[in-house]
Structure formats: structure tokens, C-alpha cells
Amino acid sequence: MSAELVTELQAKERGATRAATWRIRIVRGLGPLTVLIGLAWALIQPYRLTLIDPHGQGFWWLVSEPPLYVVLVGVLFRLLIAPGLVKDLEE
């Protein structure tokens, strides 16, 4: 095999590895980013969390905590979806 061909193959391999690394970072980051957005929302609009001041709130208002829903989605994605995707990307 000529040295030129080997260099070309190595460059392609490095490019593919770099792309996979970025993909892994993005997949790993999607869940925590969603969690951060949910937490930021809770800080900006604390009145959307009825659990902070639950007195006088009905059942449905206590169940409805939109910023926490966003956090929950991020956590679920990070724990259930991302690990398998990262493993498959690494393979």
C-alpha cells in the first residue's frame, strides 16, 4: 500500500472519529440542556410551580408543573435514550 493511500485513509478515519465524537457530545448534552432549560424556566417564572406555594391549590394545579415536566423529559432522555445511543456510536 502506498504511503499516500495510507495517509488518505488515516485522514478519513480521523474525520469519522471526530464526527462521532461530536455526535456523542450532542447526544449526551441534549438531556442536561433540556434539564437546564426547565430549571431556568422555574427560576424565571416560579409562579408556574404551584408546589412552591401549595396552600389552596387543587389536585390538578398541584399535578401541573410545566417547568418540572421539562426537567423530567430531560432526565428521561439522559437516562433511557442517550446511553444506548452513545454505546452504539462508540461501536
Binding site: I26, T34, W60, P66, D88
Partner: protein, 193 residues
Amino acid sequence: MPHAEMVHWWFATGFLMLGLLLLAEVVVGPEVWNRRAWRRYLWPGLVFGLGLLMWPVMTFYTNSTIHMLAHGSWAQALMLAGAAELGLASGKLHSQYWRLCSAVGLAVSGGAFLVHEQQHWLFSRAAFLHHALGSMLIVAAVFPLLQAFRPRSFIGATGFATTFLVVAVLLYCDRDTAAIFGHLSQYAGPPHR
């Protein structure tokens, strides 16, 4: 009964998860995404489930005939889109043109939003969001349409995923009675924060 705004937030949560799943599929590519069988069924199953959940919405939130028709047609369109994608995922359906069902699903969803909002854009925040969501979904139907003809289209896949993230954000913004850009009709009732 939960308020309508709460139902919007629950659906927003489903659409947020749907958007994240679709975005992850775009990032890793279909080869990696489809490597595990259960993952193939994940987002089509979620779309089908959201369609199923539209039936109780139709049953319990029927303020008028137009609401019932809008929610009913919406449920059917979502279930059709989910079922077609499930068929493609399982390999029982082969033609790429089944993706047109997703385009129909988005277009019907957009139409349903517009049809059952009878107030003008600046009547209240809910009215504004219904108009915005409806118009956006009709335009966004172009993404699955693109995917039907070009299945590996990056723009089509990214646009499709982003559509659901935007839908989630807009649904989370919904309040039953709240101002939009400082406007709130005197007929809308006392505003929420």
C-alpha cells in the same frame, strides 16, 4: 376536570420528548438509530399514543361542534401518521411515500388548530398561540413532504424534529386567559399571571 391549559402542557411534554427523539435520530443518523429494534418504534409509537390521547380531549373538551370535529380529525390524523411510521419501522410497509401520512398529519393538525380558534390573533394569548401553531404546522408539513421524496434529506429531518420542539414551546406558553403583547380582549375574562 383539568383546565384546558393543563392539557396543553401535558401534550407539550409529549411533543418535547418527540422532538428530542427525532433530533437525536438526526444527530446519530438512521443506521445507528435503527440498530436497536425497540428504538425504531419509539417515536412512531409516541405519535400514535398522542393521537389516541386526543380522543379523551375530544370527548371531555367539546365546547362546540367545531371543537369536536377539530379534535376528532386531529386524533385520526395523528394516529394515521403514527401507524404509517410504525408500519415503516416494522418493515411491513416499504414505500417511502407512506411518509406522506406525516405530512397529512401536520397539515390536518394545523388546520384543526386554525379551525377551532374562532377569535382573532390578539384576542388573548391562547388565541394567538392557536393561530401561530396552526399556521406553523401547515407550513411545517413541507418537511415530511420533503422526506417522502428525499428520505435522507437532512433539512427535512431537522425541520421535522424542530417543528415538534417549537410546538412544545408554544403549547407550554399557553394560558387559558392571559395577555399577548399587552393585548387582552375585555371579553376574554380575568387574566392569569
